[in-house]
């Protein structure tokens, strides 16, 4: 309840009775000792690579199957094909089972199989109780070896995907994300999004041809953890995947993305009372040797949550946003560095200018030694959370191999992080940060903004038409 009187005393919190404790800022802690178990790695005769860790705490098994490939291999006129293919692998029936029978058998025992396409990988995930492992592997193997790609289910997947396209402007965040990637990537595969037109061209033969490019044992890395022994797993893999013939042919090389967009403001009109901002540019690939220095520098800039300058100033000091920060998204064919912010329409320019000023300040003057130390401590001490369950550990190893990194890359990253100098961090700040040649995507209602969008560069109004 509001009180009417003027407060003359500080608000009373009923205090504790004990003596003051030591200030947490003065507490010291030893280094974290952790030597995670080394997963077993073995390769089958038909070329499957398997990472495995036993874990008998619970009677469950998790299995993740990774394949090189992914949405970047969508044909130019059929964007969305790989995603539909991955979904249909799961929903379109397998072996002797109709689509409904697959669903019934999995649901009956509370097991889950999911199948997804990422940009550079196809991923199937099985979570199942140990007692049902034979059923789970039967179904998974049937999906991979004997997919049915049922026509009626394909029609349903396509029709639902089209409905999602029709709904793509419902959510401001989805719009700012899409418009930003379309802008900075242009015609590169990273900049493509499914349309009614591209989905309309997809036929069952396309699905079969596309799946034939990826799903082969000699393109498969399995990450398995759970209530099995090494021997049990080897026998299971042999039983269910032993007959799967090799068949992988090299995938075509796709060029790295090149910056070719026109710097300026990209405005997507929507009848909302916030401005949804995303601004940035192409920055680096995921194997760039500067990435560790960039991670530390970006932690201090806007990637480290409350411990970063942008969150501290825009959110904590100015109260202009709930969600604000920067992200250095490492991708194999060139990732973007971008800032994001959602603020009330009336403070659009104020928040945007603050973000630009902070980026420019860090570019010119760098971060401080204190900021660097904090970022390094946070990243190094938090390292253990990459590995804190057997499932995370085998998946981390599988993904490293999939992406072509050595299996001890995470340990190497740790050493690189520890050795980073302030000079290096500020060198990458100077080299990579940019506030001029950037795309600034703004979703919202310009009539409500505190300054015209043109203040920030030439304005391109983005069409929101659903195609």
């Amino acid at each position: 309840m509001k009180t009417l009187q003027i407060f003359l005393a500080v608000i009373m919190i009923i205090p504790a009775l004990g003596l003051a404790q030591v200030n947490p800022r003065d507490m010291k802690f030893p280094a974290i000792e952790f030597n995670p178990a080394e997963p077993e790695r073995f390769v089958t005769d038909n070329g499957m690579v398997i990472y495995f860790l036993e874990d008998h705490q619970l009677p469950v098994v998790t299995l993740d199957a990774y394949f090189k490939g992914g949405t970047i291999y969508d044909p130019a006129d059929k964007t969305g094909l790989t995603g539909i293919m991955a979904a249909l692998l799961r929903s379109g029936g397998a072996g002797k089972r109709t689509p409904d029978q697959v669903d019934q058998d999995l649901d009956f025992v509370g097991a889950r199989i999911s199948s997804q396409a990422a940009d550079h990988a196809l991923i199937l995930e099985l979570n199942i109780l140990k007692k049902d492992i034979d059923l789970g592997l039967t179904l998974l193997a049937d999906m991979l070896l004997k997919p049915k790609f049922d026509s009626a289910r394909l029609a349903l997947e396509l029709s639902n995907a089209m409905d999602n396209v029709r709904r793509q402007n419902d959510d401001p965040h989805g719009i700012s994300r899409r418009v930003f990637y379309q802008t900075v990537y242009g015609s590169h595969p990273y900049g493509q999004f499914a349309t009614l037109e591209s989905l309309g061209k997809i036929a069952r033969t396309d699905i079969m041809a596309q799946s034939g490019r990826f799903y082969h044992p000699d393109n498969c890395i399995l990450a398995v953890a759970g209530d099995l022994t090494y021997k049990e797993l080897q026998d299971l893999i042999k039983k269910y995947f032993g007959v799967w013939p090799r068949g992988m042919k090299p995938l075509e090389t796709i060029a790295k993305a090149q910056a070719g967009f026109k710097p300026g403001v990209y405005y997507a009109e929507k009848d909302i009372n916030q401005a949804n901002l995303r601004l940035g540019h192409l920055c680096m690939t995921d194997d760039n040797p500067d990435r560790h220095a960039m991670e530390v520098m970006n932690y201090a800039l806007g990637g480290g949550g409350f411990s970063s300058r942008i969150t501290g100033q825009v959110r904590t000091s100015a109260g202009l946003a709930y969600s604000v920060g920067t992200y250095n998204y490492l991708r194999p064919l060139m990732g973007p560095l971008f800032g994001y912010c959602q603020t009330k329409a009336e403070s659009m320019s104020q928040a945007l200018q603050m973000i630009l000023d902070i980026i420019e300040e860090v570019k010119q003057k760098g971060i401080t030694a204190e900021e660097m130390d904090l970022a390094k401590d946070a990243l190094i001490n938090g390292y253990v959370f990459n590995y804190d369950t057997p499932a995370k550990l085998v998946n981390a190893k599988a993904m490293l191999e999939l992406r072509g990194f050595p299996s001890d890359q995470l340990e190497k990253d740790l050493i690189t992080l520890q050795a980073l100098t302030l000079e290096k961090c500020n060198e990458v700040a100077k080299f990579y940060l940019d506030t001029k040649n950037i795309a600034i995507v703004v979703v919202g209602d310009e009539k409500l903004f505190d300054k015209p969008l043109a203040t920030f560069g030439p304005v391109t109004k983005v069409s929101m038409e659903i195609k």
């Binding site: 309840m1 509001k2 009180t3 407060f7 009373m12 919190i13 504790a16 004990g18 404790q21 200030n23 947490p24 800022r25 507490m27 802690f29 030893p30 974290i32 000792e33 952790f34 995670p36 705490q57 619970l58 469950v60 669903d103 649901d107 009956f108 025992v109 509370g110 109780l129 029709s159 639902n160 409905d163 029709r166 402007n169 419902d170 959510d171 929507k270 009848d271 909302i272 009372n273 916030q274 949804n276 409350f306 411990s307 904590t316 000091s317 109260g319 946003a321 709930y322 959602q342 009330k344 904090l374 401590d377 946070a378 001490n381 938090g382 253990v384 959370f385 590995y387 804190d388 369950t389």
Partner: protein, 511 residues
């Protein structure tokens, strides 16, 4: 720092609604209660040198007073501002500025309140009055500026972050507020020091800017999010009396919250008897107990707060509400239901799965796969704590109609499915499927340290005993086809129903 969003966006920390049978509970739960009434639950699990710690306060937004809606949520944000030790270079000096700030705020609030009467009775003085208001705002800003010189910004966050914290956040729900973090296990004492310090000596610094942050959170999460906008109207329509009627705080009330509102709420509900801590991971119970005594035992006992006496009044007929927004059609149907301890609750939880869990669930199979009239359909209960809600909530069905299909057609198809539940007993195979899923989820729910800690901490505030997890599982597995028919017939009636539909507008059309 977030409010739990129920509705089309689910809180994903733990998916399970199930619980262990004693013999199937694979981890030993050690429990102790301090003299001041604060309960601790510990599970030793030395898989990796980490632990997750959760503090659950029986202090949610349903307890907020009218006029101070948003208190629980803003308080949760302020709990990250530090204490008398953390986040400040000089607490005593800083405090003096807060007294001045609060005093100016009270004058400002009074002046704003008087504005309408000046406008009415002394219009010639309006300009002067508005200038006075503006001068108070300027003064408030300058005081906030002055107090900020003592602030070590976000130090609370920084002290955890630099020690490698993960999953570091908090969430405000209707019945509870949870504070959670995972840390390397040799940082256990840091957790005790930090958590006890902010519970003993909270300091509401940077108050007015954080109030603005909470406002941005509402804009982001409700006002510009079509699903949440629709849900806010649904809940406001379904409830007339009970505080569950508020989906999010009101902007107008948040704008007027004071430090005193937060302190009152804190004193009333953050009592040691009303706090439960759970720690799961690479820890030893004896060590946890020693640290708990050292850091938490000196929080004084305070009176038990009143429960919520308000009961929702019986609904007298179907209620309908529309939201006009620039987005595609959507539909939510809500039925009043039970609280967690009602004999009808287990049947509701089984029905939730029958209708909405997985690709073979009845609504998905019928509306998405067979009739192909929905892009998606889902079911949940509200407020929707995974272990149950303290007071009677609602049972919700959400649907996105496919292009060219009317909301009306979808609605009728949903009612058909609900009628089948009433007319025809569920067959054994389908019920066995549900029970298998309940058992499987029970095993999965303890897969992560954080999920287990979260459920354990919540049970004590919800049911007064963590063994409720096993009671709940037993009750779920005992549900019969007759229970399902009886509960469906009793609750899925037209009179007990509220329907919210999203009606698309074109750009620029008046909202």
């Amino acid at each position: 720092m977030k409010k739990i969003i129920t509705g089309l966006v689910l809180f994903l920390l733990v998916a399970a609604i199930t619980a262990p049978a004693q013999d199937e509970f694979r981890f030993q739960v050690n429990e102790f209660t301090l003299k001041n009434g604060m309960t601790f639950l510990v599970v030793e699990r030395p898989t990796a040198p980490v632990f997750s710690g959760v503090i659950c306060a029986g202090a949610g937004s349903a307890l907020e007073k009218q006029g101070a809606i948003g208190t629980a949520h803003l308080l949760e944000h302020m709990m990250f501002k530090g204490s008398r030790m953390v986040g400040t270079s000089d607490y005593e000096s800083e405090k003096d500025f807060w007294i001045k700030e609060d005093s100016v705020w009270a004058r400002l609030e009074r002046a704003v309140r008087e504005e309408r009467y000046v406008r009415l009775n002394h219009p010639e003085k309006l300009a002067e009055h508005l200038a006075y208001i503006e001068s108070l705002r300027t003064l408030l800003d300058s005081l906030a500026q002055a107090s900020s010189q003592y602030v070590i910004q976000n130090e609370f966050d920084l002290l955890y972050s630099r020690q490698g914290a993960a999953d570091f956040n908090a969430s405000t729900a209707y019945d509870f507020t949870h504070y959670y973090v995972s840390l390397p296990s040799n940082r256990l004492e840091l957790w005790f020091n930090m958590e006890s310090d902010r519970l003993k000596y909270p300091a509401f610094r940077e108050f007015f800017t954080e109030r603005a942050v909470v406002s941005e959170e509402r804009r982001l999460s409700v006002e510009n999010e079509s699903d949440a906008k629709l849900f806010e109207q649904l809940i406001g329509t379904a409830f007339i009396a009970h505080p569950y009627q508020l989906f999010w705080e009101w902007q107008s009330e948040v704008n007027n919250l004071t430090r005193q509102d937060l302190a009152d709420f804190f004193n009333a509900y953050y009592t040691p008897q009303n706090l439960t801590a759970a720690i799961v991971g690479d820890v030893k119970t004896a060590e946890v107990q020693k640290l708990a005594e050292k850091y938490f035992a000196d929080i004084p006992v305070r009176p038990d707060p009143d429960p919520i006496y308000t009961e929702e009044i019986p609904q007298t007929g179907e209620r309908r509400v529309e939201v006009h927004f620039e987005a595609n059609p959507a539909l939510i149907i809500a039925y009043h239901k039970t609280s967690f301890d009602s004999p009808d609750e287990p049947a509701f939880r089984v029905i939730e799965r029958l209708l909405g869990e997985g690709r073979t669930s009845r609504l998905y199979k019928s509306l998405v796969i067979d009739k192909q009239i929905c892009l998606s359909v889902s079911v949940d209960v509200f407020p929707g704590n995974s272990l149950g809600d303290k007071y009677p909530g609602v049972f919700n069905i959400y649907a996105y109609p496919k292009e060219g299909i009317s909301s009306h057609e979808v609605e009728q198809a949903i009612y058909e499915e609900l009628n089948k539940l009433i007319q025809t007993p569920v067959d054994t195979k389908e019920l066995t499927k549900i029970k298998n899923n309940i058992d499987a989820d029970f095993i999965w729910y303890s897969y992560n340290n954080m999920g287990l800690a979260y459920n354990l901490a919540t049970t004590v505030n919800l049911a007064k005993d963590w063994r409720y997890l096993s009671t709940m599982r037993k009750n779920l597995l005992a549900v019969t086809p007759a229970d399902i028919q009886r509960v469906a017939a009793q609750y899925f009636t037209e009179t007990n129903r509220t329907v919210a539909t999203l009606v698309p507008t074109e750009k620029g059309e008046a909202r």
